[in-house]
Symmetry: C3
C-alpha cells in the first residue's frame, strides 16, 4: 500500500496527478490519502503528526510525505526505512521526529532531479520512487547517515496546535503519554481538564483527551474547539 | 463494494485511516466514499439521506455509515441487512428511515468494543465489521429486533434542508413523490415553483425539483440557492 | 484508467456515485479524480485546463469531463478520441481548445438520453459510456465533424485566472510558451516578473512561473497569490 501525507488538497489537481502516476507505475497497489490537508509550509507541525499516524501500518507500506515549500531549490530528497516501512519525501525536517521514535532506521539520499519540473517533485521525483519501493522493496539512492534527518533543536513534544480537523478538534504535537492524566491544560484564558471521550462531558464543554492515535487533542463536545476557544494552527498551550 | 457515508471529511485523516484498514482486511474490494460531508452531529438529517442514496446498489454492497457524536458512550453498534445490502454503524437513529423504506430487513447488535479507542469506533469497530461482511457476507453480532432501529416520533418526510452541495443546492428530507408536482414551496419570504431541471428556468431563478435521487431539492439556475435564499442546514420550508 | 475532471467536489455525493458506477461497469479499472473543483458553470475556463492537464497520459486513458450547467437541456453529449485518448462529456465548448492542440482527433455524438435523470447525466449517461470505452476501447455514438467541438471566437491563450489551488496559486489560461520568459505581467496595480520556482524569490514575493503543466501561474513564495494580489477566478491580466 502507498499512503500519501501531503498539503496538496484532494480536489485537484496535485493528488490526482500523483495517484495517476502511482497507478501506472505500481499497478494493483492500493493508494490511500491519509492527510491531504497538512498545513502548507509547516514542516515542523507535520513532523510531529508523522510518527503517530504512520505507526501500525504493516511492514512494506510506503509513505509519500510531501510538505515542500523549498521545491526546486537545493533541499535533498530522501528515502527512509523505519521499522520496515518506507518513507519518501523532501528532507527539511519532515522525518526528524520519526527518526527519534523508531527502532531500526536507515536513510538514502536521492540523486538531484534532472528531468523534473521546478515546482512538482512529488509527481516527478518522489512518486516514481514510491512506486518503485512498492514494487521492488529495494532502497533507492545513496546511503547517508540518519543524522541528516535530525533536528536536535526540536523538542520531543510540541506544545502547539499542529492540525485542526473537520469538526474543529485541535490536534497537538504532544503525546498523551508525555503528560499526566490529571493535567489541566491552559490556552489563552481557558483551562482544559482531561476527559476520556466526547460523550463523557456535557454538550459545549471543552476538554483535552488522548486521541485515537495517542496525541493530546483539544475538543468541545458537539461543538468546535477551534471556534469556541479561538484555536488556530500554531496556537500554543501549556500544562 | 464498500461505500462510506460519514461526516469525516476526506482530506484527513479519518477517511484515509478507514480506507487503509479496509484495503488490508478486504483486499481487492473497491472502497468508495459517497458522503464524507454529512452534517456533523446531525443524525436525523443523515437518516433521511440514507434510503435514496443507497438504493440501486447491488445486493452484497456494504455501507459503512457513521455520524457518531455518542462515540465511546453506551450507544450500541449495529449491522443491518436491508434488501440484500449491508449497513454498519452506530444505532442512534441513523437507520430509522431506511427501516421504514425497505422490504426485507434484519438487524444484529455488535458486542461492546473492548480493544477500541474511545473516539474512533469507525476505524476500530465498524470498519473491521464492514471488511468482514464484504469478505464473507455473513452476519455479525447478536440478532435483535428491527424495533431497535426505529424512531416512531420522526415523520416520513422531513421538511428541512438536510444537505447543501458544492453548488449551493439544498437537498431536503422530503421525497418528491410525497408532494404534488404543482406544489409551490415556501421558505422565508420566497415562493418556489417546481421545474424539471436547471436549464428549464432563467439564470438566477429559484425553484424546486425532483433531484437525481428522488428527493425535493431547492436550487437556483447558475447560482447558489444557499446564498440567494439564505438556506442553511436545518432551514425549514413548507408546501 | 478513467480520469475525472468535474466541478462536483469530492465530499459528496456526486463523485462517489460516479465512482461506484464505474467500479461496477468497468471492474478493475483504476478511477482517479484529477479535478473535482473546476469552477462551477465556467466551461471556458475548464476548456483551457483540459489540454495541459490531460497530456502525457497513455493512449486508452478515458477522461470523463463534466462542467454541465446545461444538463437536461438540448446540449449534446460527445465522445472525442484525441491522440489515442478518450474524452466524454457535454459539448458546450469544453473540448474546444483540446481540438486545436492535438494531432489526430475524431468525434461522435451520443444519442439523446432517454432513461436519464434530468440533472445528473454524468452518472446516468457519461459514466456508462466512459466505462464502456475503458472496457472495449470502441467508439460510441454517431460520427460527427470535429467542427462541432470548436469555438472559433475563443483565443488560443486566455489571459485570465481559470483555477486557484489550495495554496492560493492562480493558474491562468495562457501557455508559458506563448509569452517571452522576460515578460512582466500586470494585474491590477501589480507587476509580476518571472521566476523559475518558489524558492528562487524571497518569502512574500509575487511572481509568475511556468507551472508543472506548462501554464502561466501567478504565485507568492510561502504565501497566497489569491489573497495577496486579490486574484479571483476570472481576474484578468496582461503582458
Amino acid at each position: 500500500m502507498i499512503v500519501l501525507l501531503t498539503d496538496f488538497g484532494l480536489d485537484g489537481p496535485y493528488t490526482g496527478q500523483v495517484q495517476a502516476l502511482l497507478h501506472q507505475q505500481a499497478p494493483g497497489v492500493p493508494v490511500v490519502s491519509l492527510f491531504a490537508d497538512l498545513a502548507a509550509f509547516d514542516i515542523q507541525g507535520a513532523a510531529y503528526l508523522l510518527p503517530p499516524y504512520t505507526q501500525g501500518f504493516v511492514p512494506g507500506t510506503v509513505f509519500l510525505c510531501v510538505v515542500d515549500p523549498g521545491v526546486g531549490g537545493r533541499r535533498p530528497g530522501v528515502v527512509v526505512r523505519a521499522d520496515g516501512r518506507w518513507f519518501v519525501g523532501p528532507n527539511e525536517g519532515l522525518f526528524a521526529i520519526l527518526a527519534r521514535c523508531v527502532g531500526q532506521i536507515e536513510c538514502w539520499q536521492l540523486p538531484d532531479a534532472v528531468h523534473a519540473s521546478a515546482s512538482f517533485h512529488a509527481r516527478d521525483v518522489f512518486a516514481p520512487v514510491a512506486a518503485r519501493l512498492a514494487r521492488d522493496g529495494k532502497e533507492v539512492g545513496e546511503r547517508v547517515s540518519v543524522e541528516t534527518l535530525l533536528r536536535p533543536d526540536w523538542p520531543n513534544d510540541l506544545f502547539r496546535v499542529v492540525y485542526i480537523d473537520r469538526y474543529g478538534n485541535a490536534v497537538t504535537g504532544v503525546r498523551a503519554s508525555a503528560i499526566p492524566d490529571d493535567a489541566v491544560l491552559k490556552t489563552g484564558d481557558y483551562l482544559l481538564p482531561r476527559a476520556r471521550t466526547f460523550s463523557d462531558v456535557g454538550a459545549g464543554v471543552a476538554f483535552w483527551y488522548r486521541n485515537a492515535n495517542g496525541l493530546v487533542e483539544i475538543a468541545v463536545n458537539r461543538g468546535s474547539a477551534a471556534h469556541t476557544l479561538g484555536l488556530r494552527l500554531g496556537t500554543g498551550f501549556r500544562k
